[in-house]
């Protein structure tokens, strides 16, 4: 299994039956491919939909039913649609149980930077700021490092998406919870050592007595 699928699969195990979930573009969209047996979730698209199905095959392009990336998708039974103000009333109002998104940086205080790299072209924050503030639980799903540099830091250096919102980080190296004391390494990937994870991390990891091996099967 490739790294992205591995991360997505582990994220999927965090979801509960009945959860309303918003999946960010990229790696997070893979999560819906790995839902455990008996776990049915409702996907929310911030462009105005509940009950998103898979992306349609090219050629069957109906731009009146798209995901937040602008791609035409299937609509599942029980789905519905609404305008952008209503969509963000749902998001901001705390009616999305989990949002899963990537990040450029996450820090020990739960701060997240995910929308701009200083000096590079700025694409805009889209709905990310609303999603991370509004969702009941924010899971960052990303590769542990970028070009060998840590993305998990004591303090983010890039412009923030929001302050103190991230509850959990899931990477190919492990599962980390962000707590009042700092970042706790709950699970470690097979083949990693505490030392190897710590050296790939820019914040001091708290290692609990019951550190588990990350299971994805």
């Amino acid at each position: 299994m490739d790294v992205k699928s591995l991360i997505a699969k582990r994220v999927a195990m965090e979801l509960k039956d009945g959860d309303v979930v918003n999946l960010g573009i990229g790696l997070p969209t893979l999560v819906s491919n790995f839902l455990p047996e008996g776990v049915n979730i409702t996907l929310q698209g911030e462009n105005g939909m509940l009950g998103l199905g898979p992306v349609k095959a090219p050629g069957d392009e109906d731009y009146e039913v798209t995901n937040a990336g602008g791609f035409p998708i299937e609509s599942l039974p029980g789905s519905c649609y609404f305008d952008s103000a209503t969509s963000f009333a749902i998001i901001r109002g705390g009616h999305v149980d989990v949002t899963v998104l990537g990040a450029l940086q996450v820090d020990a205080k739960g701060n997240i930077a995910s929308w701009m790299v200083p000096g590079k072209k700025v694409p805009g924050m889209g709905g990310a700021m609303d999603l991370v503030v509004g969702a009941k639980k924010v899971i960052v799903a990303m590769e542990h490092t970028v070009k060998g540099e840590p993305k998990i830091l004591e303090e983010c250096t890039y412009p923030l998406t929001a302050v103190g919102v991230v509850k959990q980080i899931i990477t190919e190296m492990g599962v980390m919870d962000i707590t009042g004391e700092g970042i706790v390494l709950r699970e470690i990937a097979a083949g990693c050592t505490v030392e190897s994870v710590q050296s790939a991390t820019g914040a001091k990891l708290i290692i609990p007595k019951n550190l588990k091996v990350m299971q994805v099967d």
């Binding site: 462009n47 731009y63 305008d83 701060n111 709905g127 700021m129 609303d130 302050v163």
Partner: protein, 220 residues
């Protein structure tokens, strides 16, 4: 009241210096027929465009911008339109980025007679710059104000001749709210029917909000 007209006729309402509210979400529900008329038949300049994303390289707004007629943009995501991206680099004051829910709510409030609202989104980020911060029940919120435009461009799936619009699926997006927050509203519809033919329960936007109705060429 038959509001049916042509896109060329309708865009004559756009004046120099206007604030345009342009519906759509990337290609979804984008009012391309109206934007095309603005591109080809209007000379209005010094325009401010309020749009979720200012479209993509495949849509018409980028061409209007290439004509140098757009001097300011309010948007949430501009990754699909490199001209907007370049505007932001050339003059950071010319492109104002808002969290998507904040932009949507600003427009809703503009149409609903609400002067301002307190949102928790953007607290602790660059978005809070210059805005009042206030604590309600121990949590910080930013004051955001209502936003209105001179003219709105919107797209519907089906409209009746009184302007009642049904916007199918996710094409409701900013179309449904922008039409409530502009002085003059131009709607294009993929299909136009007689009054009474549209199921009242499917009306996304009441016809009272629409001033001019045009047949969509559905160019996307």
């Amino acid at each position: 009241m038959n509001k049916l007209t042509t896109a060329e006729e309708a865009v004559k309402k756009v004046r120099d210096g206007d604030v345009l509210l342009v519906g759509g979400f990337l290609k979804g529900g984008s009012p391309e027929t109206i934007i095309k008329a603005l591109l080809e038949t209007s000379s209005a300049k010094n325009l401010t465009v309020v749009s979720n994303d200012t479209g993509t390289t495949e849509t018409n707004m980028i061409k209007v911008m290439q004509q140098g007629r757009v001097v300011k943009v309010l948007a949430t995501y501009i990754g699909g339109n490199p001209v907007t991206g370049q505007m932001l680099i050339d003059d950071p004051e010319s492109v104002i980025l808002y969290p998507q829910g904040t932009l949507a709510e600003k427009i809703r409030c503009g149409g609903a007679g609400i002067a301002g609202f307190y949102t928790p989104v953007g607290v602790g980020t660059v978005v809070e710059k210059g805005k009042e911060k206030r604590v309600f029940e121990g949590r910080e919120y930013l004051l955001e104000t209502g936003l209105r435009g001179n003219v709105a461009f919107i797209k519907a799936t089906i409209a009746d001749k009184a302007g009642n619009c049904y916007m199918r699926g996710t094409s409701k997006n900013f179309n449904a709210i922008m039409a409530r927050a502009a002085d003059y509203v131009i709607a294009e519809a993929r299909k136009i029917v007689e009054v009474g033919e549209l199921d009242p329960e499917l009306v996304t936007l009441p016809g009272i909000f629409v001033d001019a109705l045009v047949q969509s060429e559905d160019v996307l």
